[in-house]
């Protein structure tokens, strides 16, 4: 289980901003989301979308536990 957060247009596309999902890795989480919502999974893999695990940006794979917070961040607009 991981706590998943979506920001900006990703949250609008999905229709939710936070959700607890059962996944032990980022790859498993992406696969689960692809099952539930292919359009969202495609957007999450799109250009400029960054991933933060427990508020630190990660590239590639990461292990997830029940308390891990995973955030998908579309390109940042500045303030």
């Amino acid at each position: 289980m991981a706590q998943v957060l979506l920001f900006g247009r990703l949250a609008d596309l999905a229709g939710w901003r936070d959700k607890a999902l059962e996944a032990g890795s980022l790859a498993a989480l992406r696969a689960l989301l692809a099952d539930q919502d292919p359009a969202l999974a495609e957007a999450l893999a799109g250009p400029g979308v960054q991933v933060a695990v427990d508020k630190a940006l990660v590239r590639g794979e990461a292990a997830l536990t029940a308390t891990t917070e995973v955030a998908f961040l579309p390109p940042m607009s500045g303030g």
């Binding site: 920001f7 900006g8 247009r9 609008d12 933060a52 508020k55 940042m76 607009s77 500045g78 303030g79």
Partner: protein, 148 residues
């Protein structure tokens, strides 16, 4: 100090408080950004932040600015949530020994905040809402500091 504020704030009060109790600071520069109405095209602006991530990123950048410009102190307040035209979006104040460092650090911080800070911005207008990406002007303003 850095604050993300879902509530409107009063820039004058922030500046007064920031200037208090300084014996060695010769210069305080400040900038206040307001939400534009864009001739009616922007009924409101919505700014989304990621608490704990957005403020940490701003703090890292502001600490680097503090070292680069030998600042004594800085104060950054950024609105989040729905912001009406005319309301303050951002306040930056910098304190330094002399004015050049204070002005430049304030300009430097604003260029980064406007183009690279982790916010997601939505404009609500008469034709609905749209997510905004940084403008070319914002990117050019920010990149002019990279070559120095």
């Amino acid at each position: 100090m850095i604050t993300l504020s879902p509530q409107p704030f009063e820039p004058g009060a922030l500046l007064t408080a920031f200037c208090e109790g300084r014996d060695e600071t010769g210069a305080v520069a400040s900038f206040t950004g307001l939400a534009r109405a864009e001739q009616g095209r922007a009924a409101a602006l919505e700014l989304e932040a990621y608490p704990g991530f957005t403020d940490a990123a701003i703090r890292d950048f502001a600490e680097a600015a503090k070292a680069r410009f030998a600042l004594h102190d800085y104060r950054i307040v950024h609105r989040t949530g729905r912001i009406a035209p005319g309301e303050a979006i951002v306040f930056v104040a910098t304190a330094a020994g002399h004015r050049r460092e204070a002005f430049e650090a304030c300009d430097f911080l604003m260029d980064w905040l406007k183009s690279r800070a982790p916010f997601w911005k939505k404009e609500h207008g008469p034709d609905g809402a749209r997510w905004i990406e940084p403008t070319d002007r914002d990117r050019t303003d920010a990149s002019r500091w990279d070559q120095e």
